[in-house]
Amino acid sequence: MRQTNQRRHHSHQPSPQHRHYTLIVWALVGLLALPLLATLLYSLASRWGATMLPDGLTLRWYLELWGEPRFLAAFARSLLLCFAALALSLALILPLALVAHTRWPWLDKLMKLLMLLPFAVPPVVGSVGLLQLYAGGPLPLVGTPWILIACFFTLTVPFMYQAMATSLKAIPLRDLLDAAHLLGASTPQAFIQVILPNLRNGVLVALFLSFSFLFGEFVFANLLVGTRYETLQVYLNNMRNHSGHFTSALVISYFFAILLLTWMANRFSRSA
């Protein structure tokens, strides 16, 4: 072990001939961070016209935002949709992943293929297709939150399944089940006492990521339901011609909420 570590350490030593790579790296980091910093500044600016820097700083836009009932309602709707979709996802995908890893490996292969589907059917295509299908048929789902929950569920499948598959591969599943059986546990007992606790962290991380992703979903929400059940993202879109400072405050609020979630996901994945 120690040797491997040492070997790795040696490779870290900066060497002068590679110093020019630093430029590339920091340029990239800057490229990614610049829009965010500018938005932050804009959301705090009392007025920012033709000058290089804003005239003054204020929290006005934030107070206005968090006092707006339409914003709060959209926020609540987004939360509700996300939680419903995630609960559905957990209830369906968990047994599926367990079966795929203990009984039917072909199912695992099938799921790996299905996970490419979101790439093959991008949201706008999918929602147009769904609009055609459900708009007139016997089930008038378009415009109701139900269709959105179904869509969101589909979107979480790859995350949830991948997270569970990874967690299940990380433990000697077959041997743990065999050992539990020989010690007198039934299959459900073995799953509950031995397998599920080992999936907990992986699944929590997937839930956090899925939540961030769904919370930010816009295309399906806008095209399928639109203003009839306004989610946070749709609200944000509708507000984009309002004050720029106001929307900047929204973006920054949003960003910090998601950052918090990401940090929590990271903490769980580290303790895993």
């Binding site: 433990i171 000697p172 041997d175 743990l176 065999d178 050992a179 539990a180 059986h181 020989l182 010690l183 007198g184 546990a185 039934s186 007992q189 006492q193 031995v194 606790p197 080992n198």
Partner: protein, 338 residues
């Protein structure tokens, strides 16, 4: 009547026959090793005994009762796996207590029995640790304690030592053997390591391609292999046939013969002896120091023989190229089935 009795076991998977009428019996309190190269079916056989792999035909009896249709939970069998298979989310204590908890025993009783068992494997101090905080040897001792605490009628060990380093392997080998003898526990031990099988077992069962090739005491299997496969797998035998065999034996022979390298005496002078008859003249080709053994390659007329001697003292070592006389212990020359 043997304690464990496997009769006429048949098992196919897809187009492959794994067992075709295999029979095996293990006496009460014995430790029997299933020894063989990987793919010989030894682990599958162990899993059929545990009920983890089902069988097509045949009967598995434990203590006079047919267990072949019972679920693994009902067989009363303890098993230790190569990769430990400890429950990663449970502490050492909870791992060992797992089987007793399934039996819904009283909490205080569970604690007493678990603690006793942890003391036995010298892990009392580690009761609160999680498996990933232990060394490999410690983990396997936890796995052993977990299998033993439920007081199984039969203990199955599936290559329990092969993931461990040599020194730990040796000490855990000792510990397993003494626990097994103390508890007089009938045990089946699967391994691909001939030294492990020889040192541990009351009986060694040599398997190849789903069949039992040879079985008997360690001494017997080691010193009297029945086939070239057995001779090749279990030691560094000199395998000779035809003219080569005849020149070493001093008489013509139709069968192949096998001579263990340590059954050849290196002599300074051609002294005759009833044990080896007339010595063969030879010349040392090379010498290898293997530790406590010195291995010589000796050229005898047309034949090259391997001879092992104890590494008694540096002064006794023979140089390459020097002449020696070889006394082949006639009683230790084995004639093999073709």
């Amino acid at each position: 009547m043997a304690f464990l009795n496997i009769q006429c076991l048949h098992k196919r998977y897809a187009d492959q026959t794994l067992f075709a009428g295999l029979n095996l019996s293990v006496e009460r309190g014995q430790l029997v090793s299933l020894l063989g190269p990987s793919g010989c079916g030894k682990s599958t056989l162990l899993r059929t005994i545990a009920g983890l792999t089902d069988i097509d035909q045949g009967r598995i009896e434990l203590d006079g009762h047919d267990i072949s249709r019972l679920a693994p939970q009902q067989r009363g069998i303890g098993m230790v796996f190569q990769n430990y298979a400890l429950f990663p989310n449970l502490s050492v204590f909870a791992n060992v207590a797992f089987g007793l908890k399934q039996q819904k025993l009283d909490k205080a009783l569970i604690a007493t029995r678990v603690n006793t068992m942890l003391e036995r494997v010298e892990l009392s101090a580690f009761a609160k640790r999680l498996p990933h905080q232990l060394s490999g040897g410690q983990r396997q001792r936890v796995a052993l304690a977990r299998a033993l605490v439920i007081q199984p009628r039969l203990l199955l060990l599936d290559e329990p030592l092969s993931a461990l380093d040599a020194p730990i392997r040796r000490s855990l080998r000792q510990q397993i053997r003494s626990l097994q003898q103390e508890l007089a526990l009938t045990t089946v031990f699967v391994t691909h390591d001939q030294e492990e099988a020889l040192t541990l077992s009351d009986r060694v069962v040599l398997m190849h391609s789903g069949e039992i090739i040879q079985q008997g005491s360690a001494e017997n299997v080691y010193s009297a292999p029945v086939s070239p496969f057995a001779a090749g797998f279990i030691g560094h035998y000199n395998l000779l046939a035809g003219a080569a065999a005849a020149s070493v034996l001093g008489r013509s022979t139709l069968s192949a013969i096998a001579i263990r390298p340590e059954a050849i005496e290196l002599l300074d002078t051609p002294q005759a002896d009833p044990r080896w008859g007339t010595p063969l003249a030879g010349r040392i080709l090379s010498r290898q120091l293997l530790g406590n053994i010195v291995r010589y390659q000796v050229q005898c007329a047309e034949v090259t023989l391997i001879c092992d001697c104890l590494n008694r003292s540096a002064a006794d070592l023979r140089a390459s190229g020097s002449a020696v006389w070889l006394g082949v212990l006639q009683a230790e020359v084995r004639t093999l089935a073709a």
